[in-house]
Subunit: 320 residues, 3 copies
């Protein structure tokens, strides 16, 4: 048994590969640990929109017998203050110190989703929201995607690669893809953070200017030549992110980086992956997304078992 | 046992009268099939407001032992694209193909509510949203009211008539009623579609210009004379709808069509029915709505057993 | 066993002290009555934002085995009309008569939260919303804070005082505190209404102009001198409210009334209390709130057992 206190990054996990294996086993018997969460409640706190994360995490919790309470933090409740020492005489009505401590009275595990501003790099990479919840909550906290990381997605992605890999050490390419609006770097950061610990040949491809933060890309084979990267790939993970250097900027919307069948033909019968939601015919063509080698729905299904493996470890740890 | 795959129209139902009878039996023993939905989840997706549908369908699902997840599609999650082949570079972030397929990984049955635009008749009557969910979901889909139909309401209405009919073949009048704003034709369309299959004498009354789409009104006795229609009626179902011909228009707000005690006195001790919400003293007077012959609350209660009969059939079909 | 039909005020409770004791016992064995709410549903209807009330009441209901349905009345559903005899031809789509009666078909207990306008004193103190729900619902109704009262908060506060009191009859001071925006009088009104029935020495302190409504403050020792009030206090309950006389007005934002360590040193090792959310360094300093004598998180925890005691009595009453 792994001791998991919080889950905000791969760094919270002692043995990531073992967690992937646990998720794979839970997928075979989703209800095997239905007793574990009895009379325990998971609180899901959303500062931002969610479809997959919200539903898959709720299913995961119920598979473990937990109750779930969902709170839309912008619509249902008070505006939160995160800074210390503030004189709270403006529009923020409640401090994270109270909010996190109070919610910890009602839930045995908390999940928190919050997106970055994409305007203040230092603040975003400081991860104030998720870090504050970890600091002031008195129960375990799970990231449902934070400003710069999306660990549940990466865990599901790793599981999906594990299930489909045609060779022991497949070539996995994370390729930047075009998008009309600025998106977070969280999925890409997390993917590198997790997959470089996996038995894969990891390659990162992006246009100049889209370098990721060094703490995530360091040591990962990187190229500006997408075609070269795709050659012989077993998995192509397409994802847009805005610039880290010119923070939060869309430097170009270059359709040359869109994934289509011609590019997929460069791969070794490669699978196509994306975390969703995906903009069709911008990030990837209909043909690829609707094709036999697309794994996007399988990835979404695996979000259940990623969340369930994390919750299971947290519940087991809480019991000891 | 009836084989029910989806429930979007009476046309999905092999034996509507038998489904009404099943709803009636479930009302006597709501928890008799509590085992049927164990460890199964109903996902309720709302593109529009709901009170009765949301709560009654949730109660129905829980009576069958199901879990329920509710998603407000406009507030909680991403904007959906429904057209094929689009280059998604505008404001719609996720395609229905992915959304429906993904949600099908998390839920064993889906319910979808979406209202019409009332500006584009062809699009509304094309029922793109509910049809797309049926097409791309891999689990059964229930209409919680679509652009042009509201089958759960009609099933509950039929049950209510069945419970209260004073004669074997009662006279049932669907009467247009005034309303300050343009409303869908869905309730009226569905009522005709279902009740013309019931053992009733069905009469449709509306002012000129408020003809319903021919596929629903064909063969139904129709009059522009409300008083004539009410004579001897056992049930008066009042409902406003906007014009089908001058699509989505409010042609008049004619209080002459409002239901009051004087009009009810023309009936054969007739019951008053309405699907709710109802605008008091516009559609119907306080006196009638608060009177002993009003069935509106009974109709709302029967929404539980309508939904439960549908879910029960779907769950039983899924098991075989 | 106490007979509790509705819970909108201390006046609905035969023996308030006995209810506090029941809450205390439930806290020791939260799941002891898990059978009581089986196959029963609590509907929580929110006209206004909520964090503690929403989550604690849901936990309370689940501890009793109930299902919970939450409805955001402004976002999820129709706009309600509360006046009798209205011709509903404006923007309100459903009358409370139907809404309350319909929801009573789906839930065995209802909770309702609604804040005051703070512009029309007579209307606010008429408590139209909660009173209408009590009148038209056919099931018990619980106030989750109404225009002028917050009885679940007061019950939790009394329990918290009971748990921490160092002497049999502690001195309890309700002190007005500064706040940048106009707030309801509900928490203060309720606190007086409940605590004057408790074995405490109750003192009310506020600046001139912040007198509470006479029906709540009559007979309570009152002073404009905060320091005098704090002398020897065992509990200091800080709370802002807007003026009752100059209705809904913020007469001053006087930091002299803010609670700080210096003021707390006047007390007899007094505990600090607040219902939350609290504006740090406006109502109270960080030092006091983060100190060992702050009970705010304990108060929030006790909201569970306050709600659970109320629900338990209602469920038991319903069974007889």
């Amino acid at each position: 048994m792994m001791k998991l206190k919080n889950f905000t990054s791969v760094e919270d996990v002692q043995q990531p590969a073992a967690l992937v294996e646990q998720a794979r086993l839970l997928k075979q018997q989703p209800l095997a640990y239905h007793h574990l969460g009895r009379h325990k409640t998971l609180g899901l706190l959303f500062f931002n929109a969610s479809l997959r994360t919200r539903m898959s995490t709720e299913v995961a919790a119920r598979n473990l017998g937990m109750e779930v309470m969902v709170l839309n933090m912008n619509a249902d409740t008070w505006k939160l203050e995160f800074n210390d020492g503030t004189v709270m005489n403006a529009d923020r009505q409640e401090h994270i110190k109270e909010a996190a401590a109070v919610v910890s009275q009602y839930c045995q595990v908390l999940g928190v989703r919050s997106f970055p501003s994409l305007t203040d790099r230092q603040a975003d990479y400081g991860e104030q929201i998720i870090t504050s919840f970890v600091q002031y909550a008195t129960v375990p906290v799970i990231s449902l995607e934070s400003a710069t990381l999306h660990p549940l997605q990466s865990l599901a992605d790793w599981l999906t690669i594990e299930e489909h890999k045609p060779v022991a050490r497949p070539k996995v390419v994370l390729s930047w893809a075009p998008h009309p609006k600025a998106l977070p770097q969280a999925v890409a950061n997390s993917f590198l953070q997790w997959l470089r610990l996996a038995p894969v040949e990891l390659v990162l491809a992006h246009p100049p200017g889209y370098e990721l933060a060094p703490q995530f890309s360091a040591g990962v084979a990187t190229t500006h030549n997408q075609q070269e990267a795709l050659a012989g790939a077993h998995f192509v993970y397409a994802k847009n992110w805005s610039s880290y250097r010119d923070y939060g900027q869309v430097l170009q919307v270059d359709e040359d980086w869109r994934i289509d069948e011609e590019k997929m033909s460069l791969t070794d019968r490669g699978y196509f992956m994306h975390c969703l939601p995906v903009r069709r015919n911008v990030v990837v063509t209909d043909e690829v997304l609707d094709g036999q080698r697309s794994l996007v729905i399988a990835q979404a299904e695996n979000r259940i078992y990623a969340a369930q493996a994390v919750l299971k470890n947290i519940l087991e740890h809480a019991d000891t």
